[in-house]
Amino acid sequence: MSRWWKEWIQPETLRVTVPFGRTTALSVVFIILLIGGGEILFRIPIIESFLPTSTYGNGGPELGAKIRKLDTYIRQHGMVDCLFVGSSVVDSDIDPEVFSREFKAQTGKDVSCFNFALAAMAPSSMDSTARFLIARYRPRVLIYGVGIGEFSAKFMWQGVDLYSTPWTQYVTGRFSLEGWLIENSYSYRYFASARYFWDFNYRQSLGKLGRLTSSGFDRATIVAKDIGDLSYVDTEYEVHPLAIEGLQRFIQLSSRETQILIFEEPVHPQALTTLGDDFYMQRFLSVLRKNIRGPNVLFVETQNRVAIPANGWKDPSHLNVWGAEVFSKWLSQQFADVILQK
């Protein structure tokens, strides 16, 4: 037995002498210093302003851009009273500054508003995003824009859960290590975002975010030349059940602390002519009317009720800066009697 042992166990190849691994040990020290240094530097506002927007773990820059702008907005205004939420349509349809100005003109009261709409936000995930906004920012009003395209099956499958990340879940009470790290460690947040920065599409998205105003409004200056068909809407269109379920979960967030208001996103009339007014009413609007119910929940219909100028459209469903000015002012007049009345 001992001979077998001696025959098979003869360590003669490895000839390592001590000390060994000093370079590796020193590099660990440097790693800690680099992470620690990042932790300090990235918290300095002037340095952070030069950094690309962090993604907060969802691989897209818009969430990080809106959070950064909202945090800056709150630092300047002290608080935020109302948050506009929804998809890219709300992004470009609502100018919070115009809304606030008109609200003050109507009521004499100040209201601080921010546009926290996010591209490709689907109704099925709106409630989880709203939950995180309520937990983090405690707005008194959430104003949600709903549109025919977003409630279709086609849109649902491409826009689901982009914004449900470990971080948003952490902020709403579901602990995860990554969520905790993104929330508390600037080094982790920016190092994690560095992975995405190399992607061409991500960098192009960053470029588009340069249009955002300090109140989160996507200031689009394109004027549509030809009004084509609505995206995600065809003759087979039906409101997707998951979209309705998401809408109802969102409505249930209404409370004494947070008021829920919903408005219909306007659609260019010409885009509806091929489908017909009845199509829009039967397939979409009547479904919304049936499902938007609840205490303290107000639904404002807009189609054919607000005169968007001819040059106010970016495309059949999105307004540009000129259309947004008219629409934001009108919407403020509709909500003037109900916002901040408690």
Partner: protein, 476 residues
Amino acid sequence: MEIISWQFGAFMLVVLFIYYVLPHSKQNLWLLLASYCFYFTHEKWLVVLLIGITFITFFVARQIVAGHSHNLKWLWLGLGLNLVALITFKLFSEDYGVQFARFLSVPLSTKVLLPLGLAFYILQAISYLLDVYHQRLAASTSLMNFALYMSYFPKLVSGPIERARVFLPKLNRPRRVTNETIACSLTLILIGLFRKIVIADLLPYMLPKNVVWSGINSPYKTLEVILWIVVYAFMLYNDFAGYTSIVRGVSSLFGIDLSMNFQQPFFARSLSEFWGCWHSSFTQWLRDYIYFPLSRWLLRRSNGSRNLINTIVPPLVTMVASGLWHAFTLNMVVWGVIHGVYLVGERLLEAWHPMPPQNEQPKLQQVISVLVVFSLVTFAWVPFAINILSGDVGALSFWQAIVIPHNGFTAKWYLVVMLPMMISLWLDWNQFQSHSETFFLAWSRPRQSFALAVAVLMLVVIGTTNKSSVFVYQGF
């Protein structure tokens, strides 16, 4: 298991631990078992093909030296069997393979997958047989050592293509792994990982996905398409050089050195020098087993006098063979022809207007030569890239995207792509200046440690999201 994977890391730890504990006389057996196990995780029962090729080659070599009068016939048998295996798999792994099989009345419903490393270990088998036949090498008497030469797992996937006369003696010698060996090995592995993960895998993400595939109606500018080709050149280089660096580092931990495959090819001042620096183990194989024999045969036919045929045919045939070794496709033949024409042109130019040796030329001339060679080589990657990325790519639309001018260039989107390419050039420049791949080891300890820290952080940040793609040359 992929070489860049946690599974391979765990595999290495186990193999190394047992390897270090075993006596030298048992280490080769252990490495052989580990190599077959590694191959089995990739190819399952195709390990039988590897073992079969090994046995046949070993047996044939023994017959060649057995003093029989038919030893040339044994050589042809060995070469023939190896080439048939290679050509068969190459043919039936292409898109046209199924139609070709039908033409031959072979029942084949889908194209076959090329066995991992086939093209590499077949070349090793062929070189072994030819070296034994020409008495450059004694036929191995140890089947185990020969099997290890054929299947040694660090080089099994994509080379380097080792010569038996260099590699087999290493298996017979006792191995020592010291502090310096480990430092060198880990540095090579780190450089390889950095080239692959931080440079090669990242570069394609930095450009729009369909820059070159849009054809005649491309919204992209000609300069954007040209930039993509340059990026492709850097991506391919760092992918393959990264692989080679990793496997050389891995092998070094066993005390077995593998050949260098890359020596800063982008600094080559001539096409000949480029091929001496790019995939040099394969270039040397081509030179020794195709180019030189063909040149000698042509010279004998022309009674020793140099003529145009002697100048044109050897490099052209060699490079076409190189193209076909990569894949049996028209794109690869075109790639080979382009490089063959380059080499012929260089030879004719040299004959017409002899130049002083490159090291004696003025620096400016050398720099211009480097840029010219880089441009020519990069242009030649186009058919190579079409072949690799063929999927839904149309070759014609590729050329249209380049040739039909679309003016204008939005530079700001592409500035960031310069960063990995600059890092690649910086690595190459330091290796070139110091004549050492592991030039970091000559730095002071604090500088080494800082560089290691930065490299590790970059690997973690970038590697944890981008799933590392398979090495390009794994597909050959």
